[in-house]
Symmetry: C2
Subunit: 232 residues, 2 copies
DNA sequence: GGCACACATTGATACACATCAATCGCCTCT
DNA sequence: AGAGGCGATTGATGTGTATCAATGTGTGCC
């Protein structure tokens, strides 16, 4: 599976539990680590399901985790792909509103909600960090809503690929042949398209010299030029 | 304009600045009110623009405020319609990621960011309230992404109308002929459709007896039955 | 009142994307 | 090596929604 090489261990700061909380001191981090446990998942494993009681929060350590919402008739919308350093369900009260599943092998740090709440309760800066995280999550959601509602298939894909590249680059990954560990179905369910349209559109972009399709990877060649007219 | 009756003053708790912070004491509320000012807007007025520095946060007191993201080529995605009690840009750092404009006449409580931050800094329960607010905002965003990516026009409209009704009902409004103060263009830009499709789909629903279209209002007749097969 | 003007509606047509249906490639298992 | 299976790809066709265009409908302004 393409994800195996993608999910290879890498020594970046985000690959720690709470790596997101860049302002935490060493003592805080040590204590945080005692609160939860490191859980490995294999491809397609479900971390939690929408509707289930939200007892823990999750921090991706390694691999990719897809966050999605389903309807009982098989329709699925992947709202985001979580990468190392991303936190899931940190403020969810009651029940999960979404599900999460591993895209390829993944490692996740899981902390019982009440323990984390207790940890955070006498550390105001943690709450601030959480608020900042949620703010970027909301901003991302706005981007995605724009994409879903107002972009055509080709533009959706170009924007998706360049954003994905930028996120991986920020984690220090090699993005020249851009790793694309998620399936075409996952991409389709993320962009509000069908598998076939994703394939066809990628093929069209390749014919045009904008990208090069490799197994489990895509090389972005000319996206700036191609994207420029399509984007604003 | 239809919004005039819609935006008529009503004496519910949410129509206070910080009405959202239901756990605030009277003393806190009094102080909060000294920090900001009450600003009236007329239809189409812009509260803030994406890209501009985010100096204040906003609390809708009266009327409806549309939150949207634009591309320079006139494409627009309205990400939400804010109602009294809703807070805007409460955690935005740096620059606004979205714009906001009044849908019909509106009144907004505006608080300079640093003053609010100071107010909240020694009141941990305020931060908790903010986190909870943002969590529901994120959950809403997930719903909208599903709608945008995976629902057809008719289902989008039914879900939109019923959600809108539920929100107004929660504010104690009369929803039997459901007030719809936003234009067809606004609805289209919210659902990722065109004005024409919105009109046609509403007309189809009316012909089928699911709704009744009135000026500035829509009566929901049979949506449960109509929606039931379309929804889950 | 009557003229603008914007918004809403309806129609004719085009097109992007979905759907249905093979085929192909790759990996796993026996 | 062969069989099975799943994901990816490509083709043929259908359809939902966009686009283009015209007409209705109300609303504010002079």
């Amino acid at each position: 599976m393409a994800a195996s090489s993608f999910a290879a261990p890498c020594a970046n700061a985000a690959a720690q539990p709470g790596g997101f909380l860049s302002h935490l001191g060493a003592a805080d981090l040590r204590q945080l680590m005692t609160l939860g446990e490191r859980v490995p998942y294999t491809s397609q494993d479900v971390l939690f399901t929408q509707g289930a009681p939200a007892g823990k929060c999750f921090s991706v350590v390694e691999g990719v985790v897809g966050i999605y919402r389903t309807e009982c008739d098989n329709r699925r919308q992947i709202t985001s792909f979580a990468l190392p350093g991303d936190i899931l369900e940190i403020a969810t009260q009651g029940h999960h509103e979404v599900s999460a599943a591993a895209i390829g092998p993944a490692v996740v740090w899981e902390i019982p909600r009440e323990k984390f709440a207790q940890f955070a309760s006498h550390r105001p800066y943690v709450l601030n960090e959480i608020v900042a995280l949620m703010a970027t999550e909301i901003a991302d959601a706005h981007d995605k809503m724009f994409s879903l509602g107002r972009r055509a298939a080709e533009e959706k894909l170009i924007v998706f690929l360049t954003h994905w590249r930028d996120r991986l680059a920020r984690l220090g990954r090699d993005v020249d042949p851009l790793p694309v560990p998620m399936s075409r179905r996952d991409i389709a369910d993320h962009l509000g398209l069908t598998v076939e349209t994703v394939c066809r559109t990628l093929a069209k972009l390749e014919r045009r010299g904008a990208i090069e399709i490799l197994p489990g990877r895509i090389r972005l060649l000319d996206t700036e030029a191609v994207a420029a007219p399509a984007l604003a």
